[in-house]
């Protein structure tokens, strides 16, 4: 009987290892931006293209930078949650309209509601690269000092809001 113990042990060790690997989402790559100042930019506003907007304008407030696009399918999924968040005035959300066109983006917002304090146009995706965006939607939590505290890749879900985003926003607002 004892001769089976070792293979059995190895088997279970492997199962544990592979099981952990299966539960791990390879799409989730830790952002090197965490704990670092949000990269500066100056991009035209979607509603008033003659005006530029940059993250320094949000100094002193906890805010979300939500990367979205009218062509992005899973942005539809998170959109109602963002609209709800905006209605309850929990946290200001700035939209980074990523590699999109103005007419398409405006149509999208008109149809689905506009949860953003304002959106800025990153038509070429340059700022997206500075923020390490690789899968829209992405959401960054930025604190009062302008430091990136959290990044969510993929759509905002109720679970992500309740477990991660909202508690973090509350904590940052206290501090």
């Amino acid at each position: 009987m004892r001769r089976f113990l070792l293979p059995l042990g190895i088997f279970f060790a492997l199962v544990t290892l592979l099981g952990a690997g299966l539960r791990h989402d390879p799409g989730e790559i830790p952002s090197p931006l965490l704990g670092k100042p949000a990269p500066a930019f100056a991009l035209p506003r979607l509603d008033q293209p003659e005006q530029n907007f940059g993250p320094e304008a949000m100094k002193g407030r906890v805010w979300l930078l939500n990367v979205w696009a009218s062509w992005c399918a899973s942005c539809r999924q998170e959109h109602p949650l963002l609209v709800d968040l905006a209605q309850r005035k929990v946290v200001p959300v700035i939209g980074l309209d990523y590699m999109d066109t103005k007419p398409e983006a405006e149509k999208w917002l008109a149809e689905r509601g506009n949860p953003y304090q304002l959106s800025i146009q990153d038509a070429k995706g340059k700022v997206g690269i500075d923020y390490g965006v690789y899968g829209v939607p992405e959401t960054f939590v930025i604190d009062k000092q302008g430091v990136v505290r959290f990044k969510l890749t993929g759509p905002v879900t109720q679970e992500a809001l309740d477990k991660k985003l909202l508690p973090l926003i509350r904590e940052l607002n206290r501090g």
Binding site: P26, G27, I29, P30, S31, P32, L33, M99, K124, G125, I129, D130, Y131, G132, Y134, G135
Partner: protein
Amino acid sequence: MAERWRAAIVGALMAGALLLVAGSGARAQSAEATASVVAADPALDQHVQRLAEELRCLVCQNQTIADSHAQLALDLKAQVREQLARGASDAEVKDYMVQRYGDFVLYRPPVKATTWLLWAGPALMLGIGLGALALKLRRQARDGFDDGVPAGENA
């Protein structure tokens, strides 16, 4: 019977040859597509290509940005090109990518505290295997060959 075997082998060879031809066709096509992105200066092109082969496309994670045709990969390749043209070194371009996308963007991640297992893992496994083999051989040399069947059940 032999006839049928021969037919099967010939069939398999033909299928293999067909796959090869189809494969090289696809490769030629992708080379063409890449060529349309890069232009002019062949030395720079080569340099961009070489560096792009070391950078991971984050959208389609098992491809380099040299291979991938995802929009992000094309944009990043354009970035690499722009920076090299400006005179940046390979290390500077890689730093630029790592600052934004993390070590994951490198196909050859640096050796550091969080990645040593990744680098040492294969050697470690080999060591464990060789150790186990040596132990087993030594025990066999001492105790005689053990085929795993209790004595007496051999017949």
